[in-house]
Assembly symmetry: C2
Homo-oligomer: 299 residues x 2
Amino acid sequence: MNLEWLTLFVDVAYRGSFAATARERNLDPSSVSRTIADLEVALGLRLFQRTTRKLALTEAGERYLAGIEPILDELNRAQEYAHASVDSPRGTLRLTASATFGLRCIVPLLAEFRERYPELRVEGLFTDDNVDLVAERIDLAIRLSPQIEGNYVATQLMKTRYRVVASPDYLGRSPALVKPSDLTAHRCVLLAVRAYQRRWVFRDNMGNMTEVPIEGDLVLSPAASVQVAALAGIGPALLPDWLVDEDIAAGRLLDLFPSYSVAATMFDTGAWLIYPSREFLPKKVRVMIDFLKEKIRRT
Amino acid sequence: MNLEWLTLFVDVAYRGSFAATARERNLDPSSVSRTIADLEVALGLRLFQRTTRKLALTEAGERYLAGIEPILDELNRAQEYAHASVDSPRGTLRLTASATFGLRCIVPLLAEFRERYPELRVEGLFTDDNVDLVAERIDLAIRLSPQIEGNYVATQLMKTRYRVVASPDYLGRSPALVKPSDLTAHRCVLLAVRAYQRRWVFRDNMGNMTEVPIEGDLVLSPAASVQVAALAGIGPALLPDWLVDEDIAAGRLLDLFPSYSVAATMFDTGAWLIYPSREFLPKKVRVMIDFLKEKIRRT
DNA sequence: ATTCATTCGTGCATATTCCGCATGAGCATA
DNA sequence: TATGCTCATGCGGAATATGCACGAATGAAT
């Protein structure tokens, strides 16, 4: 059965004529005749009594008309009700990011986001665990990576530089740290990610690469713990700029090799916004993407 | 949009899998995939978020599901509600017959019909005027005719013989009426139908036809009036057996030429039950047809 | 880390359905 | 009685739906 059959049936019932209904809908009368006949077969009911030149609803037809007219209205309302959740920034936005990125970069912005979109509820899943985006019904994910592969749409939020930092207190009581290879004489604070624990790679302005093996007896997670440890003077640490630039600006930490690019895995990494598809993108996702880009690019 | 799409959507939403839904419905998974994609385009909404191996309703999808599930139930109920009017003898049956046939042959039976079908309401339109069966929403018509043509289904209810009758009182004070041609000496009571007013045709047992020109200064309608006039001794009248047999049996009228078949138009006429179609015949029409055949054939 | 099995998406060909045209039968009106 | 219009139906072409085959992706098992 086709919904179009039902709306046609209602139309014919009110016009009292196949031919008039056909004219109004720019159809051939034969199509109207067949469609009504098909509907009668599908229902197992005679809906209209008709001869040439005359047409009248049967009793069953009147009952069926009474039954489906509200239903057709409800179908439209169901579509509008579903649309309401995506056409304006309302409902619930489920957002995921790594624990530290979420905590330091996203959470501080949510007060203003709430001001701007009072009807939108945000559920932030900030974890370093692997998150199943489909099963968790995630609307928007933030991933820290050189690049994003897979079927999801990815738009870069920001580029990330990593810095080797230590506190002034630590530096005042430790062997000199002038060039990267000096790190071998220090016990570093390490992030609990395998790729971050063996060696750090330095690239100078000329593009020369230096790979420095590092050691450390303190391996922490999440990245914020490593930051706190560095601030406490426990040792040098490799941390992203979005995490430590404020401490550096305030003199709480020092960027030990500012003229180098440093990476534990790959250079040219960054934070990416990831969402399932540009097609049928709910407004709530759109506004969060725009908001984050606006806020994070301003800093 | 197709209702099948909607039921498929509900199915997928509950099974959480295109492939599982396809198996259950004996479809190819590609058809399920396309159907859901078509529904999403028609609605302008993403209903499911999916990758390979994972499928979850979106918020809009959940809302739409909540909206249409009751609607699908209502559609079934609308069909059942419409069917209820035809699947059992209830509702209103609109019946038409000629004024006299309705009054004398149908009305006396309606008390028993009501006993038998208490939930069925009968509207009898007994008139000698031409009745538009479609416009008047007639379920069942009774027509007196040699045969029925046209698109309607016709089943014969009874055969009709016409009789020339007069009252004993009239005969006692009038010229002898021995053979049909004797009628030319009498002023007859005529039915106000053109075909009944010029000549009556007599057919004897051997098949010999005699056409007798008749005259009368009293032309009445409906046929019951002619009967009453004959009973009052005003003159001979040509009337159908179902109208006068009781008077004959009681001696109130005499059949003047019982060994002849008489007709004003054609012989071998009868009463026919006429209804629009055997297909999708409502129960109420069926039971009335069966009832009339049972009752009228018993008398 | 690799392999395997399964899911969802899509191109292509085929089957099915829908639609308009033409025509006929029937009916109401002039 | 003739005419014009409605509804029904055969037929052919256009549009849509479906299955098959295949590929990409993913989760589970090894």
